[in-house]
């Protein structure tokens, strides 16, 4: 199962029934200074704003407010008991004739629909829409493209309307070019991508396109969010569902879930055993979870339950300087040197070797014969450097 090829098999999407409880973690919410307008017991509508930039993905009652340790750090987490009948925030309206409106208005409307599109959008000249999945095993973006073929043109129109884009590039896996066979040149440029990791990662994809086509002021968007935006405007529906690939011990499937569904709802209890690894995200960049009570957020394309027999344990032997990590690094870093410096706390040297350019793709550690935790060393260097920087500022 460990091939770096991206999966291009068609896999239909089924709906997962809503869970009893949804967990929403608030990024950027500081319990010290920020206050919440909701209390335990408050009723919340789907799409209602909880905190600037964060919207509820369900209708229900706020059960508790506590904190939760997730991959990004400690967050305030709201647990919402899901109600039977769904009601949408009245501020969300359908705007089928969006092309006649003011783009800024439309951006605000999208924001209300839980699609936080960047304000810098207006300055971009080229937009890359990607239907290439970012990690092996995931089949989300391509499947969404398959199922929304008839919405492509609307999507392209919308994106051109929101930006100053003269050019829209549609990046898709090589073998799926037939899906966009009727796209003509002045609608979008089709860019075919070899379906191998890491070609679908935004940083790699954008760099490839930049060096091939020489485009300026580029922006990146996944097809899922693009179609989400089209549906939000045409039907007045907020973006509260996310499609994820579930890789379990026994089966793999694509399902549509409510954003914030805890992982435990995705698997049967009997599927998860001691010493398994539960990974939010893919096998190369995903974060291992310590508990099944962690929600699946809107950036997750893949939930991967790795059986204990497949779990690799870090050996972290001394570096033998074979240079394999250097030769596979897409950021062209001297990974072996950076990690040796980081291992022995020489973080300034890591900075000189451009450690910040690492995109944490994990290829170096994938190939390292010494089984070194290279990504961990790099993260250590980055976080220590940030601490040093913060101290200097003080």
């Amino acid at each position: 199962m460990d091939s770096l090829a991206l999966n291009i098999k068609e896999m239909g999407i089924t709906d997962l029934p809503d869970p009893e409880e949804v967990i929403l973690t608030l990024k950027g919410f500081d319990p010290g200074s920020d206050t919440l307008k909701f209390k335990e017991g408050s009723k919340i509508l789907t799409g209602e704003e909880i905190f600037p930039g964060e919207h509820s993905t369900v209708t229900g009652t706020l059960k508790s407010i506590d904190s939760l340790q997730v991959a990004g750090g400690k967050r305030v987490a709201l647990r919402i008991r899901v109600a039977e009948d769904e009601k949408f925030d009245p501020a969300i309206k359908e705007v089928p004739d969006f092309l006649e409106k003011d783009p800024l208005e439309i951006l605000k409307q999208l924001n209300r629909c839980n699609l936080k599109f960047s304000e810098k959008l207006a300055q971009t000249k080229t937009v890359v829409i990607s239907a290439v999945d970012t990690e092996p095993l995931a089949t989300i973006q391509q499947q969404i493209l398959r199922e929304n073929k008839n919405r492509i043109l609307e999507g392209l129109e919308l994106i051109k309307f929101l930006t100053a884009a003269q050019k829209v590039v549609l990046a898709i896996p090589k073998n799926l070019d037939y899906l966009v066979a009727d796209i003509i040149e002045d609608q979008a440029d089709v860019f075919l991508v070899d379906p191998v990791y890491p070609n679908g990662l935004p940083d790699i994809l954008m760099r490839t396109i930049y060096y091939k086509l020489g485009l300026e002021a580029c922006a990146y968007l996944k097809v899922e969010k693009l179609f989400g935006a089209v549906i939000a405007l045409k039907q007045g529906r907020p973006f509260v569902h996310k499609v994820v690939t579930i890789i379990g011990n026994k089966e793999s499937k694509n399902i549509r879930i409510r954003i914030g569904t805890p992982i435990k709802n995705l698997f049967k209890d009997s599927d998860i055993h001691d010493n398994d690894k539960l990974i939010l995200g893919g096998p190369l960049r995903g974060d291992a979870c310590y508990s099944t009570d962690i929600p699946v957020g809107d950036t997750i394309d893949l939930v991967y339950l790795q059986d204990s027999s497949e779990v690799i344990l870090n050996r972290n032997q001394a570096c033998i300087n074979c240079g394999k990590c250097v030769r596979v690094c897409p950021a062209e870093l001297d990974v072996n040197l950076i990690c040796r410096f980081s291992e022995f706390s020489h973080f300034e040297e890591c900075l000189e070797l451009d450690v910040y350019d690492c995109i944490e793709c994990g290829l170096c550690a994938y190939h390292c014969p010494s089984g070194r935790s290279l990504v961990q060393f790099i993260r250590l260097a980055k976080s220590e450097l940030e601490k040093i920087e913060q101290e200097e500022e003080k």
């Binding site: 460990d2 990024k27 930039g53 699609l115 936080k116 599109f117 960047s118 810098k120 959008l121 971009t124 935004p202 940083d203 954008m206 760099r207 930049y210 060096y211 580029c218 922006a219 990146y220 968007l221 969010k225 001691d274 398994d276 690894k277 539960l278 990974i279 096998p283 190369l284 960049r285 995903g286 291992a288 979870c289 310590y290 099944t292 809107d298 950036t299 779990v311 690799i312 344990l313 870090n314 032997q317 001394a318 033998i320 300087n321 074979c322 240079g323 250097v326 030769r327 950021a331 062209e332 001297d334 072996n336 350019d357 994990g362 550690a365 014969p369 089984g371 935790s373 990504v375 993260r379």
Partner: protein
């Protein structure tokens, strides 16, 4: 429920240091068999003595330094085999032990072990013994007790003494098939070539150093040959004689002592080829491969700086929560 947590990636390609060294041993095996077939018990004696010494020295040195044992990673075995292969069949046993010990001690462990050695460990042991006891390395004398059915004179010495006229008796095909005198494991050129290709296919070594090394040999020797083909041998003669093939695939590609960046590797390989021919033409040593590699080893840290990075491209995420 107890879940395992660790930093990504959660896959790896299941490579290991032991696997790398196993591939190296497999690649050397045909050459070793040929050595034993040609030189009989003499070769077997040298090989086993050398390997036992390297393993024992690594074990005890690491014990003495209070470090964990690394015997099982196979590096000591490979060093022992390679060192044995450089020796003429007639060397005394104490020289084998001495050299093999020096390979491990001065070549590797003193610097902290595998991966930290600035020079090829095998060549460190070789160079010290070669310079201290040159008589035992004299290939013309070393082989007089054998009758192998081919000339037992060392082609590179002859070339040095009398130009191409002296080497007209040799056939390139014989060189390829290992019919020349030399170290017990350096002469089977074809088998070494096959071993090297095996390593390339297995991804144990990268193509840059061997290819640029050969290019270096061919280009520089062609220049001399074109200038005066009475005095200087043709490029293929150079490629197939002496210790070159072993140097190209097995010694210059030692991980720690060679560069890891592509352009560094290419310059390194070419430099090895260039210096080899220069030594063969102008130095007192008939063959200069190993000294060439040792000298290029010294340039490795410098060569690793030969690198042009393309800067990452800046772009914005339209969905600002993404990634």
């Amino acid at each position: 429920m107890k879940l395992i947590v660790s930093s990504p990636p959660h896959w790896n390609n299941k490579d290991s240091i032991t696997k790398i060294h196993s591939h190296l041993i497999i690649a050397l095996l045909p050459v070793l068999i040929y050595a034993v077939y040609t030189y009989g018990l003499h070769a077997a004696r040298i090989i086993s003595l050398s390997v036992v010494t390297t393993i024992a020295s690594e074990y005890f040195i690491r014990k003495l330094f209070g470090k964990e044992s690394t015997i099982t990673n196979g590096s000591a075995v490979v060093i022992g085999l390679l060192f044995a292969m450089l020796l003429p069949p007639s060397v005394p046993y104490w020289l084998v032990i001495m050299g093999a010990f020096l390979c491990i001690f001065i070549g590797k462990e003193i610097f902290g072990g595998l991966g930290s050695n600035p020079l090829s460990p095998v060549l460190v042991g070789w160079a010290i013994t070669r310079i201290s006891w040159p008589a035992y390395y004299n290939l013309d004398l070393a082989s007089v007790n054998y009758d192998l059915g081919y000339s037992f004179r060392y082609p590179l010495t002859l070339l040095k003494k009398g130009g191409t006229e002296f080497i007209s008796e040799f056939k390139l095909l014989d060189f390829l098939l290992g019919k020349q005198v030399g170290g017990i494991g350096t002469v089977a050129v074809l088998l070494l070539l096959i071993g090297g290709i095996y390593l390339l296919l297995r991804g144990v070594i990268a193509w840059e150093i061997p290819v640029s090394f050969m290019v270096g040999i061919l280009v520089v020797s062609s220049v001399f040959w074109l200038l005066n083909n009475n005095q200087y041998a043709n490029p293929l003669f150079h490629l197939f004689t002496g210790n070159l093939m072993l140097g190209i695939f097995f010694l210059s590609t030692d991980y720690a002592s060679s560069p890891f960046n592509r352009w560094g590797m290419i310059v390194f390989g070419f430099g090895c080829g260039f210096l080899t021919i220069i030594f063969r033409v102008w130095s007192v040593y008939p063959d200069g491969v190993f000294f060439a590699i040792l000298i290029m080893n010294l340039f490795t840290p410098l060569l690793d700086k030969l690198k042009k990075r393309s800067k990452p491209v800046e772009f914005i995420h339209i969905e600002s929560r993404a990634e």
